[in-house]
């Protein structure tokens, strides 16, 4: 298993290489660069001079391949560079944004799994009964609502109309309880729900379908005829077998939730990777663009890897070597 994981991790390198090269080229194809904004600064008299000096400092005069090699060398030394627009180490910006996005994405993922899988199981165990039909219809409805539209409705209902939950930021500023666990959780609920709801529907449909295939198999009948309780059969015997395709999907989704968070972060002014990525791209902040791209790509790839590993744990028949 360990050698498999190491081999997979090494296998990520070519993919990351191609992705960063493409981003590098695209980034330099974008018109303008971060320093041109300095011409708009009234305090800088000789803008042309300053821009020239800044560009030289950032190494933008070097040939493209040289710039890429420099970036990779710095990366291998653990140096992500300095942001052009904030004049701060990129690592620090990421260190601030990444935990926020991770909190949001992981909370959403937990909500999805805790709600979606049991829902699908219950639907499958009551297939074509009223509960199944009504919740299945409801699931398609939820699945058809884009998460950002959900976000608007959630804000309108829970923040504006009922006034229960805050609609922006991660903490309430200027109150004694600012930054408390409760305060943070209350800020987290709406964005996490908006991110999770469409996926809940998707997972419950997926679980329902898989369970229906498993529930007719012989070992389930054996378990029942042994006199086990229905709930035990369902959660112990059926779920264990029905969950395997869900794990694969879960791995794919880690990356998806991560990028899906971009829109949600924008709506809830959640200071995460989404905001950082968008502003970096709009301001041609090359080091930040490369760093955020790298992190998004690594998340997706790690997600797939985690799915494969979980798969081997869940299904002893799968052997990697």
């Amino acid at each position: 298993m360990a050698t498999y994981i190491i081999r997979r991790l090494l296998g990520l390198i070519p993919t990351l290489f191609v992705i960063t090269v493409i981003v590098f080229i695209l980034m330099h194809l974008m018109p303008g660069n971060a320093f041109l904004a300095l011409t708009q600064n009234p305090h800088i008299k000789d803008a042309a001079e300053v821009i020239k000096r800044k560009e030289a400092e950032a190494g933008l005069n070097l040939p493209l391949w040289q710039q890429y090699v420099n970036w990779v060398v710095n990366l291998l030394h653990g140096n992500l560079g300095t942001s052009y627009q904030y004049d701060e180490p990129v690592a620090r910006l990421i260190g601030f944004s990444l935990p926020n996005t991770l909190t949001l994405a992981i909370t959403a993922e937990i909500i999805v799994l805790l709600a979606g899988i049991p829902m699908g199981l219950l639907q499958a165990s009551r297939v074509n009964k009223a509960f199944d039909v009504s919740t299945s219809f409801f699931a398609v409805l939820l699945y058809s609502i884009p998460s950002f539209v959900f976000a608007l409705f959630l804000i309108y209902i829970f923040s504006f109309t009922l006034n229960w939950l805050p609609s922006f930021g991660t903490v309430t500023p200027a109150v004694p309880w600012s930054g408390d666990l409760g305060d943070r959780i209350s800020h987290l609920i709406l964005p996490a729900l908006a991110l999770a709801l469409p996926s809940i529907a998707f997972y419950s449909r997926l679980t329902r379908g898989n369970t229906l295939q498993v529930i007719v198999q012989d070992f389930v009948r054996t378990a029942r005829s042994k006199g086990l309780r229905d709930s035990r059969v369902l959660f112990r015997h059926v779920l264990r077998n029905a969950i395997i395709p869900i794990i694969t999907q879960f791995g794919f989704d880690i990356g998806g939730l991560f990028s899906g968070a971009v829109l949600i972060e924008e709506i809830f002014t959640w200071p995460g990777m989404g905001e950082l990525t968008v502003s970096a791209n709009l301001n041609r902040d090359y080091p930040v663009i490369l760093a955020t791209t790298l992190i998004f790509a690594v998340t997706v790839l790690i997600g797939n890897l985690v799915a494969d590993i979980l798969l081997a744990i869940a299904d002893p028949r799968i052997r990697y070597n």
Binding site: T15, V18, I19, I22, V23, L26, M27, L29, M30, P31, F137, V140, L141, Y143, S144, I145, P146, F148, V149, L152, F153, I155, Y156, F160, S167, G255, S259, V262, L263, E266, I267, G274, T277, V278, N281, L282, R284, I289, T292, T293, F296, A297, V300, L301
Partner: protein, 302 residues
């Protein structure tokens, strides 16, 4: 499918009474029996009708600013009020639907075109060509979506329907390409392909004349599912300010303009209608997609 259908009928002993029905007819029958799919189909027809025939329902021009009448509440003259620029909300809702639907359908078709050509070549030739092409798909599937879209938009340096369609299809093609490759890999082993090879048909003729028509049913499902996805995606991008410019009426644009903290609370009539239109469109297209998938399923009983 025809054989399957005959087989089914032979089982129920109805072969003598009914004449043989074509697979398309059987699929159509199955589709028509799916109530949700039919309801989705008619809902979509209604949406298309009100957007195409928008001038019948509203006298206003969706791009004409009227600064004397900004932020009006709903009234007889403006059933959904007007927004901050004096645009009539109903006019923007109806005309915006044209733009949203066109962009989503065009993007779906273009994605499929890329996907079919790429996946078809990869799946048909197999071997190292397939290997190389699929490695590239793997890379593109892992490619972070938002930075890519931002970069493409900055490079094209304009925003508008055509750019949005191009951007979406350039980012979304790897999924369909991989899916179509799988189908072509299966079809390649079919006897009629072997037959075509033995009578000396060229590779391209086999791909496009013999194999492609047999992928139509999968394609139809894929297109409808993609349309549903792209309606949401386009609206989301426009909402972020990365899709259509605000001068073009669109549902995402309406949401984006009305979703600031003041308007959202005080003017629900300006953002709830476009939100509902987005949901309704996606929902009906999803039901149609589900219906098509079941209708084309060769294992389904008639």
């Amino acid at each position: 499918m025809a054989v399957q259908a005959l087989h089914n009928k032979a089982k129920t002993g109805e072969t003598k009474r009914k004449r043989v029905q074509s697979p398309w007819r059987l699929s159509l029958q199955r589709f028509m029996r799916n109530r949700l799919a039919v309801a989705g189909f008619f809902t979509l027809l209604v949406i298309i009708f009100v957007t195409v025939a928008a001038p019948l329902f509203t006298p206003y021009n969706p791009t004409a600013i009227n600064i004397m009448n900004t932020n009006l509440p709903p009234s007889a003259a403006h059933p959904l009020g007007t927004d901050g620029s004096g645009y009539d909300n109903l006019a923007r809702l109806l005309y915006g639907g044209r733009v949203d639907l066109t962009v989503a359908v065009a993007a779906a078709l273009m994605t499929m075109l890329i996907g079919v050509i790429y996946g078809g070549i990869s799946g048909f030739f197999g071997g190292w060509i397939d290997n190389l092409m699929m490695r590239f798909v793997d890379v593109m599937l892992n490619f972070p979506f938002i930075p890519f879209i931002l970069a493409l938009e900055a490079i094209f340096n304009t925003s508008g329907e055509l750019i949005l369609i191009t951007v979406v299809s350039l980012t979304a093609w790897p999924g369909p390409a991989r899916f179509m490759r799988g189908i072509f890999l299966q079809l390649r082993e079919q006897d009629y392909v072997l037959g075509a090879v033995t009578i000396g048909a060229s590779k391209w003729r086999i791909i496009f004349r013999h194999m492609l028509p047999n992928t139509i049913s999968s394609l139809a499902v894929l297109v409808s599912m993609s349309v549903a996805g792209y309606v949401g995606l386009d609206a989301g991008l426009t909402f972020l300010g990365l899709g259509l410019p605000l001068t073009v009426p669109s549902w995402g644009g309406m949401l984006s303009q009305a979703s600031n903290y003041i308007d959202m609370r005080t003017e629900p009539y300006s953002w709830i209608p476009p939100a509902l239109m987005i949901i309704l469109t996606i929902l009906s297209v999803n039901f149609i997609g589900d219906g098509l998938r079941d209708a084309f399923d060769p294992q389904a009983r008639t």
